[in-house]
């Protein structure tokens, strides 16, 4: 099925696509058909900067298990570091 639903957030950071590194402005998260992963549906995450054009995109296509584990790993990594160390207002 095509879900069409998209969670879109603003992000600050950088990503690397075919043309090299670029500043990110948004991330889009959606459960839908992948382009490459060998599954009917995956959790797709696009790190993008529409201002830099459609090719300024770092996509990943993850299984549900992988996406949940990634989310948990992000929390563990942040919890293990001093609070605010990677904040946009970092010391």
């Amino acid at each position: 099925m095509c879900t069409y639903n998209t969670e879109k957030i603003e992000v600050t950071g950088s990503g690397k696509a075919a043309k090299g590194w670029f500043s990110l402005s948004h991330a889009a998260v959606y459960v839908d058909h992948p382009v490459h992963a060998p599954f009917a549906h995956t959790v797709n995450i696009d790190f993008i900067n529409p201002g830099e054009g459609p090719s300024a995109r770092v996509p990943v296509e993850l299984t549900e298990e992988a996406a949940r584990e990634l989310a948990a790993a992000i929390h563990r990594a942040l919890d293990a570091a001093p609070a605010g160390l990677a904040s946009v207002n970092q010391p």
């Binding site: 599954f39 696009d46 054009g53």
Partner: protein, 247 residues
């Protein structure tokens, strides 16, 4: 008689006269040919869709697929273009109709055109096919598992995706519907409601729902591919266009 064909990227006038990219495939002999507008699925104007366009040319039709994401992502990879269009909320309905109209006009202008136009679309393109067939004067339409023609979409859907059953009185041509019994968007219940409404209106239609198939069963490059349903479906498509696009 020859089986030679030509396939290439061209520029056509889309909605509002805006130049958009499109993929054309046509037989090279001089027989009069019907034209088929192919509306690509939501993942975009990709290699598999271009293969479908060529398949129509192999089977004797001039076929043209407008890149519906030309404006958002000119020259981008199909997957990047689809992601960009998705992030912007999808293709507006009125612009889609204008782009299909532009593609039909281009096909009618070809030297070997017989004047007949069919439209076929997959996934989101299935809904867009119904939209085009209710908005333009065409000769045959094939809806391959288009959702949200009848039912309201889930919350959080982009505002471009609204049910369009109310357009059914304006359906301008016979409609072939090809659906999967296991599909959730559209469910067999939704396509049955569409059939009921077309029956009530006396609109010519022919629906087939394939057991063991879900959404996107025509997609040869995806795990959703179901060879049995796809083979039977293609047979229906060519019978249907053979009947309705001949002159």
């Amino acid at each position: 008689m020859t089986d030679a064909m030509r396939a290439e990227t061209i520029t056509i006038a889309g909605d509002g006269g805006t130049e958009i990219e499109a993929y054309l495939a046509k037989p090279l002999d001089e027989q009069p040919r019907g034209g088929v507008v192919v509306i690509h699925h939501m993942p975009g104007y990709d290699a598999a869709t271009k293969e479908i366009v060529r398949k129509f040319a192999v089977n004797g039709y001039n076929a043209l697929c407008p890149n519906l994401y030309s404006r958002e992502a000119p020259g981008a990879d199909p997957d990047d273009a689809a992601a960009a269009a998705r992030a912007l909320g999808g293709v507006p309905d009125d612009r889609l109709v204008g782009d299909v109209d532009g593609a039909a006009t281009y096909l009618k202008g070809l030297d070997n055109a017989n004047g007949k136009i069919g439209v076929i679309g997959y996934c989101s393109g299935g809904r867009q096919t119904f939209l085009a067939a209710c908005s333009l004067q065409i000769d045959a339409a094939v809806d391959c598992y288009g959702a949200f023609v009848v039912n309201d979409p889930p919350a959080q859907m982009p505002p471009t995706m609204k049910p369009i059953l109310g357009l059914a009185p304006r359906l301008s041509c016979p409609l072939l519907g090809l659906f999967g019994a296991d599909d959730q968007y559209p469910t067999p219940d939704e396509t049955a409601k569409l059939a009921d409404e077309l029956n009530r209106l006396g609109k010519d239609h022919e629906f087939h729902t394939y057991d063991g198939a879900g959404h996107a069963f025509f997609s040869v490059d995806r795990p959703s591919y179901r060879p049995e349903a796809a083979k039977q479906g293609w047979q229906r498509v060519f019978e249907f266009f053979g009947k309705n696009l001949a002159r």
